[in-house]
């Protein structure tokens, strides 16, 4: 059994840029081995070692935010704990170990796409928008300062505190969508938000909705089954290799509780 060229590679990658684009939200550009991400698709992710030491023990799974050139990937992350703070502290010129590209990305079928994102869930949208025709983005966040910039895309915003855009949850924007002009929906955000959107889209639309799932991850390459999410037909699917992008109808939205703690 020989190594498959489409398989992920694990390499020390030069960190080229690191910038705090919003409070505690960082954008990092990494130089990846030539050709290793040529076949990377939107929705795939990387596993990054945030420390060369033993702790934190596991890597941080981060969605590929954009593929600037065949040898440069960009990822976005929020400092939420010790691991992501260590990654935020890595300065340009240093190397970090990156395993990728991992997982199954979006099914980029032709047609008009509606993107619906909550918080950092919109991080992968620029990469997806480079491959499909995105006619509108519905973007929600807790407050204006947490809305990710999505240059070049038509965006309707909602904030929970009403500081900008619609006052309320992103689901409140769904009735502004002309669903006759939507062929596909790309959905990414916290599980309660995604559940609300999946249940609120018009009949027939949920079959055209794909979601990018989030789960606490062990290995990220299909072995440990730590990241499993509930499947609609019973049992579980591996977030890391069956996903992280799934047809919304493949998941059991009643049983799926999302990340805890």
């Amino acid at each position: 059994m020989s190594r498959d060229a489409r398989q992920p590679v694990d390499r020390e990658c030069l960190l080229l840029e690191s910038r705090e684009i919003l409070s505690r939200i960082w954008r990092v550009v990494l130089e990846v081995p030539p050709g290793s991400y040529a076949a990377a698709s939107p929705g795939q992710f990387v596993q990054i070692e945030v420390s060369p030491g033993s702790f934190p023990l596991t890597r941080r799974p981060l969605t590929i935010d954009s593929l600037d050139s065949p040898d440069r990937i960009q990822v976005l992350f929020e400092e939420t704990g010790a691991g992501t703070s260590l990654l935020a502290a890595v300065r340009p010129g240093a190397a970090v170990r990156v395993l990728g590209p991992l997982g199954k990305g979006w099914d980029t079928s032709p047609g008009r796409w509606l993107f619906v994102g909550g918080g950092l869930g919109a991080a992968g949208f620029p990469f997806l928008a480079s491959r499909v025709d995105c006619s509108l983005v519905l973007l929600g966040a807790s407050t204006a300062g947490r809305l990710l910039p999505l240059p070049g895309l038509a965006v309707l915003t909602a904030t929970e505190d009403g500081s900008v855009g619609f006052h309320g949850l992103v689901t409140g924007l769904l009735d502004r969508v002309d669903w006759r002009l939507v062929d596909h929906v790309a959905l990414c955000g916290p599980v309660p938000m995604m559940r609300a959107v999946v249940r609120a889209v018009p009949p027939g639309m949920s079959e055209k909705t794909q979601v990018s799932a989030e789960s606490r991850m062990g290995c990220g390459w299909g072995a440990c089954e730590g990241c499993s999410v509930p499947a609609a037909d019973g049992g579980y699917l591996k977030c890391c290799t069956d996903g992280p992008v799934f047809p919304a109808s493949d998941l059991d939205w009643d049983r799926w509780k999302g990340v805890r703690g």
Binding site: M1, S2, R3, D4, Q7, P8, D10, E49, S54, F55, P56, L57, T58, R59, A82, G83, L99, S215, R216, M217, G218, C219, W221, G222, A223, C224, E225, G226, C227, S228, V229, P230, G234, G235, Y236, T241, R255, W256, K257, V259, R260, G261
Partner: protein
């Protein structure tokens, strides 16, 4: 074979590194990534008589110094493993040891009896120590009489070698190892994960859906060294060490404690290329004057 060799179950291996159950699937993902270099053998995920969905998520939670997991022996069951997985695993560049679990003592015998239909398993690892299931699991491994009985039942149905994977959580690991040997086992694996739990102190709710889980960490190395040291001095059958390895020197320390081979688990999840890296470290250290 040039270079050092490690003898186990009648074979010479160019590496002392075995992949621990539950961290490498059936080795197929690592094979596709080209990461089986440096691997003496793969221990598969647990195989049970019936398919098991596994526990509700969240199934893993990282702690400051380790990882808690509660997978719950998720596997497609012995029928599907025989028909679809083992034929692929037969192509691996290294032997496969199939990990076997059961809800009852009789289950272990039945699963091994079925697996005997395949020529692929090099041997078995009998898992009497999973902390993440209600029936069977660690409750078996805590009682040396049960360990001995399950070992004897497995012995009845196979001539292939098998190791009994013991629990660190209750009882004397040396007595459990002796019971496995008396029951006819060809080795013991020392040991499974340590029972652990994390809570959100604000709500009091556990971070794993099931509540408790199995704890693994490089910080556990001294606990494994102590158990391997005790077990290997109590039995004549070989000991496979498991727990806490993240460096080549950890492997050499466990070999010095009496292990015949050493398993790598959680560190492999972080570093799929760990086997080759760790073997290189081991060989470098052994070559030091």
């Amino acid at each position: 074979m040039s270079g050092p060799a490690w003898r186990f179950w009648g074979r010479d291996f160019g590496s002392p590194i075995v992949l621990a159950s539950g961290t490498a699937g059936f080795g197929l993902e690592l094979a596709r990534m080209g990461c089986l270099e440096g691997v003496a053998a793969v221990v598969s995920k647990a195989t049970t008589l019936e398919p098991r969905e596994g526990n509700a998520p969240p199934r893993v939670v990282e702690t400051r110094f380790g990882l808690l997991n509660s997978i719950g022996l998720a596997n497609p069951g012995v029928d599907l493993i025989l028909s679809e997985v083992l034929p692929l695993a037969g192509e691996l560049p290294c032997p496969l040891i199939v990990n076997v679990a059961g809800r009852t003592a009789e289950d272990f015998r039945a699963v091994v009896e079925r697996l005997e239909e395949s020529p692929v398993p090099f041997g078995y690892e009998v898992n009497v120590s999973c902390p993440n299931v209600d029936a069977g699991g660690a409750a078996f491994g805590a009682d040396p009489c049960v360990v001995g009985r399950i070992s004897a039942m497995v012995r009845e149905v196979t001539r292939k070698p098998f190791s009994v994977k013991l629990t660190p959580n209750e009882g004397s690991i040396a007595r459990a190892a002796v019971a496995a040997e008396d029951g006819g086992a060809d080795g013991v694996t020392v040991c499974n994960t340590f029972l652990g739990m994390r809570l959100d102190w604000r709500t009091g709710r556990p971070l794993l859906d099931r509540g408790s889980g199995g704890y693994s960490s490089p910080a556990l190395l001294p606990l494994t060294v102590a158990r391997v040291h005790a077990a290997s001095r109590s039995v004549g059958i070989p000991v496979m060490a498991s727990g806490g390895v993240s460096r080549g020197e950890d492997i050499l320390e466990l070999l010095a404690a009496g292990a015949a081979l050493v398993q790598v688990g959680t560190w492999l999840m972080r570093r799929p290329s760990a086997p080759a890296e760790l073997l290189a470290e081991v060989l470098d250290l052994m070559a030091e004057p």
